[in-house]
Each structure stands twice: as C-alpha cells, then as structure tokens.
C-alpha cells in the first residue's frame, strides 16, 4: 500500500517471530531449527493451553499449529484466538489430512494447511507468506489506528464537512446542505485538513480509506 508521508506505521521494521505449537518436542525443535537457519526467530509451546496462558509478544509473525494435540486441538485454539480478537495468521500442520478439518480451518482464516510430513521449503514458504501477511496487516492496522486518532480530534461539524469533501461536494454545495455560509465551510475545511495532517485531497482520501468501515458509515 502506498501511503503518503504523514500517515505511516509507527514501527515499520521489526524482527518477525514464529510461534510453534506442537505436542511433539522433536517436531517443535526441528521446525525451530529450520526457521532459525533462514533467520526467523521462533518460540515453541507444547500445547494450546500453554500458548493461551502466555501473553503474545507484540511482534509481527505467525502461529504454526499442529491440528492433532491432546487437550485443546489446533482448531479449538484458532476459535479461541479469533473470539478474543487476535488475528495473527495461522499455518496448520496435520498428521493425517482431513478435508473437512482443513476446510474449516481455511474458512476461519488459516493461511495454509500442510500435511505432515511436509517438505522444508513448503514450511518456509508458508511461514514467510504468513509473516508478510501479518506485517501488512499490522501496517494497515497502525495506519488505521493513526487515522482514527486524528479523526477523533475533529468536531462534529468538521466531521460532516470531511464526509462531504470525500464524497466530492464543492464548498458551495456543502454550505447549502449544512445550511451555513461558504466562508464558514472554508474555515471548517481548513481546520479539518490541518487536524487530519492532510496537505491535499489525495492525502485526505487515503486517510479516509484507512478508517475502519464502522467509522466511515457508522455516524450520521
């Protein structure tokens, strides 16, 4: 995404982290070695429960998850993470390919579903894809957070003006619609542009695009 200068992610370059969850120590260990050989950090957990009990680090990354585990299964863990609002990408590993299970996992947003034994390159590809997806997601989230923060500094009137400007109305039309003078519209407009850190309509539009849909449509 080509974002203009004023609105950028706060921490654009952070080392990614892969989170491995598998009940088999040798598999955890081996995948960790494989990832470290291409320079990806990893932490390993022996069960879904262990992962849920720890606070996830605030780093871009992904989860490499075994489907078949005693206690909470991989699919269960995916549900738990989704319902608690954690949208970190998940790569599933499974011992025995189960179509129904993989469909369910992919529907719930899994990046990949790999059947063991999976070739080393396939793991690396899936993990890299998941990490770049997460980096993009985090970037977009950061941009969106920033835009929301800026948007929240606006007065109700400035918000109305913003809405009308991005909808392509002229100052005159806005003045008519809001039942105020054109001079007042211009005042609101320039203050709104300043608050949104926008130097041009293009900047303003990209900031508007970064706002979550609920903000864009939610208010009247």
């Amino acid at each position: 995404m080509n974002v203009a200068a004023p609105i950028t992610a706060e921490r654009p370059t952070e080392r990614p982290l892969a989170i491995l969850v598998d009940d088999d120590a040798s598999v955890r260990d081996a995948i960790g070695e494989l990832l470290s050989s291409v320079g990806i950090d990893s932490v390993a957990y022996a069960s879904a429960r262990e992962l849920l009990d720890t606070k996830l680090p605030d780093r871009p990354g992904c989860i490499v998850l075994d489907v078949r585990m005693p206690g909470l299964s991989g699919i269960d863990l995916q549900d738990r993470l989704l319902s608690s609002g954690i949208s970190i990408p998940i790569v599933f590993l499974t011992g025995h390919g189960d179509i129904a299970m993989s469909v369910q996992a992919m529907k719930a947003g899994a990046v990949d579903f790999l059947t063991k034994p999976v070739r080393d390159q396939n793991i690396l590809d899936a993990v890299s894809a998941a990490i770049s997806a997460d980096v993009a997601r985090r970037k977009a989230e950061a941009v969106s957070r920033k835009a929301v923060a800026l948007y929240e500094t606006l007065t109700p009137r400035e918000r109305q003006v913003l809405r009308s400007v991005v909808a392509g109305f002229m100052n005159k039309q806005i003045a008519f619609e809001l039942d105020i003078t054109e001079v007042t519209v211009k005042l609101h407009r320039s203050s709104m542009m300043k608050k949104m850190h926008a130097t041009s309509i293009t900047h303003l539009l990209s900031a508007w695009q970064a706002l979550p849909a609920s903000v864009r449509t939610g208010e009247s």
Binding site: V27, A30, I31, E33, L93, G95, I99, K116, D120
Partner: protein, 618 residues
C-alpha cells in the same frame, strides 16, 4: 384427689355443725354452738377445730346481742361460753394426741414399728393411723406433721409420682370396697424430691367375725431392681430393633441346621414364618431352602450340609425368592456359636442382598466384551491412521532438520557448528521413527493369531449385530443368504471378524453416493467343492454402489478411493485371509455395484499340510 371416707367425714361434720348452729339460732341459746366445735375437732382436725371455736364465739356474741340488746349483754356469759368452747377443743385435742403417742411410744404396735422398710397402719375406712419412723424419715416428715394427717386419708397422694396417683387411688378405693389385698408398684418422692420405685403390699386385718379392723401396709424400695430391669429391657429392645432393621436377612439355626428364627426383614421380604410365631420350634429346612433358585439349590445345599457336619463357617452366593416372585442375589454367611466346651449351640445366618452389585458387574462384563469386540472390529482403519500419525512426527522432524542442515551448509560462510548439531538431531529423529515401527511390530506380535474351529455364519451374524447402528445410520438394508450347512473352519475368530467387518464397512461407505432406496447390502456364504478335492467356503459381500474403478489394485497397500482413507484396510484383509490359506477377490457386478469375497479352506492349512505329508509318505 379426695377419697370417699374423707368426703363423708367432712360432709357429716358440716351437717352436724349446721344442725348445731340452727339449734342455737332457734333457741337463742349460745350453748348449742358447742356441737359444731366438737364435730369440727373430731372430724376435721384440731386446727380447723380452733377456727371453729373462734367462729362459735362470734356467733354466740351475735346471738346474745340479738336476744338481750347491746346494753344488756352479759360479759360473764360470753366469757364462760368462750372458755367452755376452748375447753372442749383442748379436751378433744389432748385426747387424740395421747392416743397418738400411745401408739408411737408405748409400742402398742411393735409389729408395724419394727418392720424393716416403710410400714404403715390405717383405719378400716382408709384414714391414716400410723406411719413407722423409717417411713417418716424417707418422706422427710416430722411426727408432728404426721399428727396433722391423722384421720385424713389423702395425705399420701402428694408423695406419689403424678403419673401413678390415679392408678394408686383407684387401687386403694377398690381395696377399701372389697377388702382385697393391695399389691402395686409406684414411685414415691423422697425428702430430697427424687422419686424412687416402691412395691406396696397391704393386707386387711380382720377380727374374729371377719370385719376389717384396719390395714397394714409394707412398702419396699425396689428402685435399683427396677432400674436394672428397665436397662435390661431397653438393651433387649435395641438388640431386637437392630436385628430387625439391619439391612440383611438374618436367621438362627439349631446345631442341626434347622432354622428357628427369622428377623423381621426376612419375614417381610420372603414371607416366611418368623420363628417367634412358631414358638421357637424348628421347622423343616426345606421351607428355607425352597427359596433358593433351582439352579443354585443343589450346590448351596451340599455346601450347607458340609458346613453343618464339619462346623466350618460358610460363605456362598445364591439367588433367593422374594414374596414378589423375583429372585435376588444374596451373599450368605453362616457362623456357628460354640459354648465353652466347643460344642455348637446355634448357627447364625446372614444373607446380604448383593443383587445390584452382581447384576451391574454382569452388565459391565457384557458391555466390556461388546466394546472390545467393537474396538477389534473397528481397529483396522483407525489403527492405520494412528500408525501414520506416530510415524509422521519423527519423519516431519527429520525433514525439517534436514532442511535446516542443508541451509547452514549452504550459508556463506557455511555454519558447520550448527550443521553438525542438527545432524545429531536428524539421527535421533530417524531412530525414533525406527522405534515406532518396532512398537507396532510388537503390538501385532502380541495379537498373534489363535486358531480354533470357527463357525463363519456365526461370525457374520455377530458382525451384523455390531454394525446395526452403522447400517441404520447409513440407511442401508441388509440381506443375508447364509448357507446353513456351512462347515466350520479352523481360523482366528477375531481376525475373521475384522475382515468381515471391514468388508461390511467398505460396502456401506461405497453406497453413500447412491439413492437411499437402492442401498442394499447382501452377504452370502456358500461351500465350494470340486472333484479335485478342493473344499472351500466363500463369503461374499455385495453392494449396490458405484462399483470399483480398478478391482485389480484394490487390495494393494495404500491404494484408496476414499478422501481420508489410508488404503490399508483391504490390504490387511488380504494378508489375514492369505495367512489362513485363503484368497480374496473383488469385481464389479453386471447390474452395478461391487462384489468382494474371500474364500477359506474348510480344512485348516496345517491339516492340509499334514494330509499332503501323509500322501507323500504313501
């Protein structure tokens, strides 16, 4: 509680007094008032007499006032009257006191005074005449106090426990009326306020003409005895309660083994006659043994008689018939009681209801058996899945580690340290894969086949039973055409079961793709013989599914048409059948669907080999 003699005495005193007062009033002469004084003194005691003296003085004053007027009242006459009244009272009082002291101190009644325990003496009408010193001490009353009670007959009621007063008074009245002796027990209050049990014995003393001249009574302290008796009774009651309420059937038997007592539970549950009702008489043992289930009776009786003969305690289980007509399982124990010489004096029998336990254990055993059979039958495909999973783990580790190994070597400059560390891990993971294989091999070795004569038709029926749920769930109709003359074959029962179950399952799954009403599964058995001496039996499973795309490959390992299949089931089936000297075949049926069949030699492989050897020898 007033006694009749008391009331009559009081009423006669009142009547006489009233007559005296009336006489004095009519004649206007105060001397007539001396009559009520005498009556009161004699009939009501000297305190009331004194009151009467005062009352008579007042009345006399009234009479004189009315007759002579206030001025002319003769003070002298009044004084003389008062003095006379007091004199009469004193006379009566002295007379009575003297008689009392005569009795007490002049030993006129040594028999009463000297009797041990508490003694008393009463007039024929029940009035007290005398209480011996022991009695006075016991109830804590002074001789003076007793003198006040002389001539009253209800004084004792205050010393008798309130619960028994009514009964005692009734007895006393009855004795007064009939002259019968009194024999009763009651609690009497001691001077310190506690009650003790006493036995009261009283007889009437009669003169030569048979008239009652008085009552002599003796009261004996039986409290300790009474308490001991009550305690004994209570213990006995508790014991009986225990025996009757304890949740088991208890019986007592004579040394010869004849029951003579059944506890209440036994009586209630089995409707036998309690030994109590029969007066403890032993009844024939058969009434009891008739309750034992016919299947258990012979053995139970034998062991019972053995036990009675040897004196050994007995413990056995059998079913007993309740009065509701149901048999229940009981754990029966028999224990002899011996006297000091070691001779058995009776047998104690306890029957504990263990029906629920026995039944649940039986149910558990059956369920367990069914479960293990179902597991055995279902295990082929599940087993292969878990084998795959077990193997996948170390293989995955090997692959991932090898990838890392390769990358460290290719790095610039190559990282040999990391590479060699990882190569160690690769070796370790490969070894663990080998271990998995070893474990699986050991598992199969454990379940090495056990050959025995097998009725293949019975195996098929069993498997169909097991698969009923599956058939219903999949909406499949089952048709069987089993040859009733099918001979037995020597085989491993479990393995043959597994093969049949597997074929059944495959067919059911194959038909999921077709219309529900055409889902028919057909199992047939038949015997195949030819002139060349070949004698085999064949089991064919036929379905109406889409058929087999490649019938020649279907028995090959890892060949599967199922999305989540391992391709192991039919391969294992083939190895089982071939291990039994049989063959498998699969083909598409002309009208649609597939037929999978296996053949087994009627004679066991070993038998054929023996046979061949014999022929070769000839």
């Amino acid at each position: 509680m007033k006694l009749p003699s008391f009331i009559t005495r009081r009423s006669s005193a009142v009547a006489i007094s009233a007559a005296g007062v009336l006489l004095a009033g009519i004649s206007l002469e105060p001397w007539g008032l001396l009559i009520p004084i005498v009556a009161a003194c004699i009939c009501c005691g000297w305190k009331k007499g004194l009151v009467m003296v005062a009352a008579a003085n007042l009345l006399a004053f009234g009479i004189l006032f009315y007759r002579d007027g206030i001025g002319a009242i003769s003070v002298t006459a009044l004084a003389v009257f008062a003095a006379t009244g007091l004199g009469v009272w004193l006379l009566v009082h002295l007379f009575r006191s003297e008689r009392f002291y005569d009795r007490v101190y002049d030993a006129t009644h040594p028999s009463v005074e000297d009797i041990p325990g508490l003694g008393w003496f009463a007039y024929p009408d029940g009035r007290l005449r005398f209480l011996n010193p022991a009695a006075l001490t016991f109830i804590g009353v002074s001789p003076e106090k007793m003198r006040e009670w002389i001539d009253t007959d209800d004084w004792w009621t205050q010393f008798v426990h309130p619960d028994e007063v009514d009964r005692c008074v009734a007895n006393w009245r009855h004795a007064m009326k009939t002259g019968e002796p009194i024999l009763e027990e009651q609690r009497v209050r001691r001077h310190d306020g506690t009650y003790r049990w006493f036995r009261d014995t009283a007889v009437a003393s009669r003169d030569e003409r048979g008239r009652i001249t008085g009552w002599y009574g003796h009261t004996q302290d039986i409290d300790d005895q009474k308490r001991a008796q009550a305690a004994l009774h209570e213990r006995e009651r508790e014991l009986r309660l225990l025996v009757d309420t304890v949740p088991s059937l208890i019986s007592l038997l004579t040394p010869e083994g004849l029951p003579y007592y059944f506890n209440k539970r036994f009586v209630d549950w089995a409707d036998v006659e309690s030994g109590d009702a029969a007066g403890g008489a032993g009844r024939p043992l058969t009434t009891y043994t008739a309750l034992i289930h016919p299947d258990d009776r012979a053995e139970a009786l034998t062991r019972f008689q053995e036990s009675i003969a040897t004196g050994e305690p007995l413990s056995q289980k059998y079913r007993l018939l309740g009065k509701d007509g149901e048999y229940r399982w009981f754990d029966s124990r028999l224990q002899p009681l011996r006297d000091e010489t070691g001779a058995i004096i009776r047998w104690y029998g306890v029957n504990l209801d263990v029906d629920d336990e026995v039944r649940s254990r039986e149910a558990l055993r059956l369920a367990d058996e069914r479960l293990s059979r179902a597991l055995r039958a279902a295990s082929l495909s599940e087993l292969s899945v878990s084998i795959a999973h077990e193997l996948n783990q170390p293989l995955q580790a090997v692959v991932a580690n090898a990838g890392a190994f390769k990358r460290w070597l290719r790095a610039d400059p190559p990282n040999f340290e990391n590479a060699s560390r990882i190569s160690e891990k690769i070796i370790r993971d490969a070894e663990s894969a080998a271990q998995v294989l070893g474990r699986i091999r050991a598992l199969f070795a454990q379940a090495s086949d056990q050959r025995q004569p097998v009725d293949v038709n019975a195996v098929i029926t069993e498997v169909c039973d097991l698969a009923t749920d599956k058939l219903q769930a999949a909406n499949v109709r089952l048709e069987t055409a089993l040859d009733p003359r099918l001979p037995e074959t020597t085989a491993d029962h479990v393995q043959i079961e597994q093969v049949v179950f597997n074929l059944l399952r495959n067919s059911i799954e194959a038909m999921q793709a077709v219309d529900a009403h055409s889902r028919v599964l057909r199992i047939a058995t038949r015997r195949l013989r030819n002139d060349l001496g070949s004698d085999r039996l064949e089991v064919e499973v036929r379905d109406q599914g889409p058929g087999i795309s490649d019938p020649d490959r279907i028995f090959e390992p890892f060949y599967t048409t199922k999305a989540d299949g391992m391709g192991m089931g039919l391969a294992i089936c083939r190895s089982i059948i071939e291990g039994h000297g049989g063959r498998v075949r699969a083909e598409n049926v002309a009208g649609g669907g597939a037929s999978v069949a296996f053949m087994l030699p009627v004679q066991a492989v070993e038998a054929i080999a023996e046979d061949l050897k014999l022929r070769a020898g000839q």
